[in-house]
């Protein structure tokens, strides 16, 4: 490793800061991470620091829901050698994208007692709608495996190998009971990108897809299976795929 530590920045848009917290809470190697990188900007860890670049590595969490964020995001991209979207909000829209299911004014009216006419809130967007992204550290919050892969790859100057398979793989490798086949729960595991270590199925809960759909997710095949389970309405099934973590998918389908 050279004398200069890579300069890293962590940027937040509309989200719960859970991804930043996950990095700050990176138990297994927090100390090493802070020693290996020069975190020039990471508001959750330090109130000092500057968002001015250049950055060797930038991590961006959150969805874009306000116009000024678009300008900031473009600046971050220009100042960053490598930029990864981190977390479901930045990658799939996540929780903030739920508001895409209703007209903007209606959402604002429900959220604020009086209409704030100065509010310049927009439809939710994922960050690669606006800038080129070098990779996706998926999850809500991200799994340690992909976060670790991103950081160590940045230090080694190689392309990271992010998880690209279903939650079922992790579930089977842990010999978990299959909540879909054995218990008939509407588990999203077969179409959801892995990385969480099959956390919910390991606790007898159906996966609800917080890591987002994996590549080539065969949605209609799994919908068909949920129909066969017999106790879900068409609306239930639709909501399973297109509310919590798939709201943007629903608007795109209209």
């Amino acid at each position: 490793m050279g004398a200069r530590r890579p300069r890293a920045g962590f940027f937040k848009f509309t989200c719960c800061s859970g991804c930043g917290f996950e990095l700050a809470y990176f138990q297994r190697c927090l100390e090493e991470t802070l020693a290996a990188f020069d975190f020039a900007f990471f508001r959750l860890a330090s109130s000092s620091g500057t968002p001015e670049g250049p950055f060797d590595l930038s991590l961006v969490e959150g969805a874009v829901t306000e116009p000024f964020q678009i300008i900031e995001l473009k600046k971050i991209r220009q100042r960053s050698k490598v930029l990864y979207a981190i977390g479901s909000c930045a990658i799939t829209g996540g929780i903030p994208a739920i508001k895409a299911l209703a007209p903007e004014a209606q959402v604002e009216g429900a959220a604020y007692k009086e209409r704030l006419y100065g509010l310049a809130s927009t439809r939710p967007h994922v960050i690669n709608d606006y800038v080129q992204v070098d990779g996706f550290i998926r999850g809500c919050p991200p799994g340690e495996r992909d976060l670790f892969e991103a950081l160590s790859s940045a230090l080694m100057g190689k392309d990271p190998e992010f998880t690209e398979y279903s939650v079922c793989m992790e579930c089977k490798m842990a010999d978990n009971k299959c909540v879909l086949v054995e218990e008939g729960l509407p588990c999203m595991g077969p179409v959801t990108n892995a990385g969480c270590g099959a956390l919910c199925p390991a606790h007898h809960r159906a996966c609800y897809g917080c890591f987002g759909l994996m590549g080539q997710a065969n949605i209609h095949a799994l919908k068909g299976r949920f129909r066969e389970l017999g106790h879900f309405s068409e609306e239930d099934i639709e909501n399973r795929f297109f509310t919590l973590f798939g709201a943007l998918g629903k608007t795109e389908r209209k």
């Binding site: 670790f148 690209e164 079922c168 490798m173 077969p190 590549g215 997710a217 065969n218 068909g224």
Partner: protein, 365 residues
Amino acid sequence: MTGVNASQRNYRVILPENALARWLEWLGGFYTLTGPVGGGVAARFTEISKFEQMDLDYQSTMLPPGKKYLFEPVEEVLSFDVSEGVFSSGPYPPGRKRALIGVHPCDVNAILYLDMVFLSGPYADPFYRARRENTFIIALNCKSVTGLCFCHLVGAGPYLKAVSGYDILLTEIGEEEGAERRGGKNRKFMVELVSEKARELCDVFPFSMGEQPEEKDFEKMSRMEAALLKSFRKNLDMEGVQSALLSRPDHHALKETADSRCLSCSNCVMVCPTCFCHDVMDKTDVSLSRSRRVRRWDACQDISFAQVHGGNFRAQRHARLRQFVYHKLDYEEQFGRKGTVGCGRCIRWCPTGIDLTEIARAMME
């Protein structure tokens, strides 16, 4: 079971279940006892301390016992630490010896298949070999057949025909007359000591607790096997399947099944007792001084499985599904036998119930 010679018979005894239980628990002093817990088709091989924890009436498990314990899902094969100059080639051989109790014939045959993968050729896998040598396999002939079983089509069951590669073969051959055990009948098992390792244990084997099998016992076993063979519901022309598959790689049955039902979730591969593909990756610490090389089960259904420099040669879903079906029912050139042992797990654990024998049947029409 006719044609058994006298010397072979010396290694056979009929034991009541309570004697078998006591002997197995004694074996627990040397081996970590591992057997099927929870019954039906979703039993699970688990470490046990008491014979009663096992359900020897179980029909199947999700993860196959051989694959779970001999070819572990994730294992470290190498590690090094630059800062300390320490280099180690993984934690093998495994610490404790393990006895797998109640392994069905299909799963024993699957272990023999994995042996060909990991032990044949110039480079035997040291991790697999170490675990294999430390594993004592007690096979159990089946007493029932599920609707998804097709081991009879490939000679992998329901009774075990292999004569080596495992240690003991058990067959339940009825109940002891007049001897009620607490909580149920006391069943009787034909116990065959197959391997040298098993025969060396004869000194302490409770022969006195059992009885020498007679001709009528072998006849009874033959009758039970014949009855089992009649109870299979799955059928497929295994002779004709290879040419049908090879000549029609773009058959609509593959494409239609892939489009309408295949999730590419890889459950079929994960639960397959003969699927041996694995990925090897390095996990380097952020300090860049320590690194671990890890081997993990991989699956041909994953979108990135066939991603190589220049492209993905199985980018389409049906191409990946075809790879699985062909590897199980065709591709005999690889190891001189088909990749399937007919356990039916890939059908049972597929979230949408895709049946490779149905695809093959459609392709043969």
